[in-house]
């Protein structure tokens, strides 16, 4: 689903990512560990087709994002559930309306989008906040709302930057369960996290771990841990990804 090949990026003169090669397949969780400044956020932004690398290839499904024209990028982005370090929401709109936006981008009917959005809110345990204004929520609740938006409709690729930040242990557990649910539906999930507890819990649930340090992969490459009880990649069918009129 996602394949980064020899990706390098410089920012402010510093080498942030150094010839990084990473792959995340449908039906697996990949956890990228690393300290602050290791390059996790940049890696996710590149994987989310929000930033182009200086060198290397970024393959999503069977399209090299670096070779796509700018007009084609929205058709890629709408198939990616992305949770930024600080999720941004529409002002003066409810949490439910914000979550429905992800499905609006894919052109889903309104009634179905509302239903799917409520399901996503339920997965992370904030159905009661559906009518709330995101601007009035705590950081943790905003993060959960952002995760719900990323998971709504279960896109084929889900990317999360520090998903457990500002969350209680119970909320982190709910998030991990929701991610496992997405994986079981055939999505590829990539999390960047510096939270040891979350990484351990994810690994225990079958996630593959990678460690970044100063933009380089230092551990975990090649290890593959499948979800307990089933060989996900073998048992789940490949997802049909609707990338619309993507053209290169």
């Amino acid at each position: 689903m996602l394949r980064l090949v020899a990706v390098s990026l410089r920012s402010g003169g510093e080498l942030v990512l150094d010839a990084l090669t990473v792959e995340a397949r449908a039906g697996e969780i990949l956890v990228v560990e690393g300290n602050r400044g290791a390059g996790k956020t940049m890696l996710l932004e590149i994987a989310a087709a929000r930033r182009l690398p200086d060198a290397g290839e970024v393959w999503i499904a069977d399209h090299d994002v670096t070779a796509l024209q700018r007009d084609s990028l929205p058709f890629v982005r709408r198939n990616i559930g992305f949770v930024e370090a600080q999720p941004v929401f529409l002002q003066r709109a409810t949490v439910l309306e914000n979550v429905m936006l992800a499905l609006a981008a894919r052109g889903e009917p309104v009634a179905w989008a509302r239903e799917a959005a409520m399901r996503a809110l339920g997965k992370v345990g904030i159905v009661g906040l559906a009518a709330a204004d995101p601007a009035r929520l705590s950081n943790g609740a905003r993060r959960l709302a952002g995760i719900a938006r990323a998971l709504a409709g279960v896109p084929p690729l889900v990317l999360l930057d520090d998903p457990s930040a500002s969350l209680s242990a119970a909320d982190s557990g709910a998030v991990l369960s929701a991610l496992i649910g997405a994986v079981e539906s055939g999505a590829a999930v990539v999390c960047a996290s510096a939270d040891g507890a979350f990484v351990s819990a994810a690994a225990a649930a079958g996630a593959r771990r990678l460690r970044l340090d100063a933009g380089r992969l230092v551990a975990g490459a090649g290890t593959m841990v499948v979800l307990p009880g089933r060989r996900v990649r073998e048992t789940l069918p490949e997802r049909q990804v609707d990338l619309g009129k993507v053209g290169s």
Binding site: A26, R50, A67, R77, A105
Partner: protein, 315 residues
Amino acid sequence: MTTLAAASSSLGPRFGWGVRLTTQGLRRHRGTLIASAAAFSIATAALAVCVAGARTGASRAVTSGTVQLVALLDDALPEADRNELAATLGRLPGVAGVRVLPSAEALGRMRAELGERAAVLDGVEEGFLPTTLEISLRPGRQGVGRADELAWRLRHTGGISDVDLLRSEADHRLVEEQETSHRLRIAVMILGGTVALVALLLAAGVLRRRRADASVFAGLGFTALAVHGPALVAGALAAFVGAVVAVGAIRLTLRGGPPLPDAPSSRLLTSLVRGLCEGRGQIVAVAALTLLGGALGWWGTRLPGRKGDELAPPP
């Protein structure tokens, strides 16, 4: 490798979402809409003042100075018809006076003007020159300002063989008045243009408040039309409402007041009334500002460029 499926979503839901998100955006950004409409209203009024200044200068150029029309009458025109024509012309608005100049008097005037060389007219018969009507026009738009139109009409009137239009140079006082008017016109145009520009920049700045929305839409994978469309509609709506309010307010204010005298000091107001209350000018102005508002809405929500937003090199 995962395979790609063709786009399955139809146009219907997308159009529905477009309408829904646009109306939601207008509702959520009521303050922005009102503020930008007010800015467009100020811009419209300032542009109207600017245009009025320019028109005043143009009308001053046409209506200043003095003009006399000389209509050469057919020899066969009976005297009674000649007098009736003179009386009719004398009643026209803007005509100061009409004088019938018989053939003999015209010849006598020519002899006097020639002076010592009048001998060249010796032997000329009394009916050599045609009887003429000397028509003096009042200053102002209704008089001097319509000299060309009146001359054209007279040339097509039965009993008149030709018309001469004689303009005289403006006197010293009139020249001074014109210079004063010119300076006033320039000042009004600069002031109006500056206020209009500032108001439009203000409107663009207000519309940029919607950039946060555009950022969310772009991040979720909406197309450029979906990202900027709501702001385009909001900008166009604000400009339309603002322009209509400004035009309506000026019309109501000026039409409800006393009649405007045709004096230099009031010519700006007269031009303003004519510019905004007559003709298609107001429709064109409202339409142009509506388009401009839409463009400002689109432009105002453009996001700062990042590497990921750059065009990739062609494959």
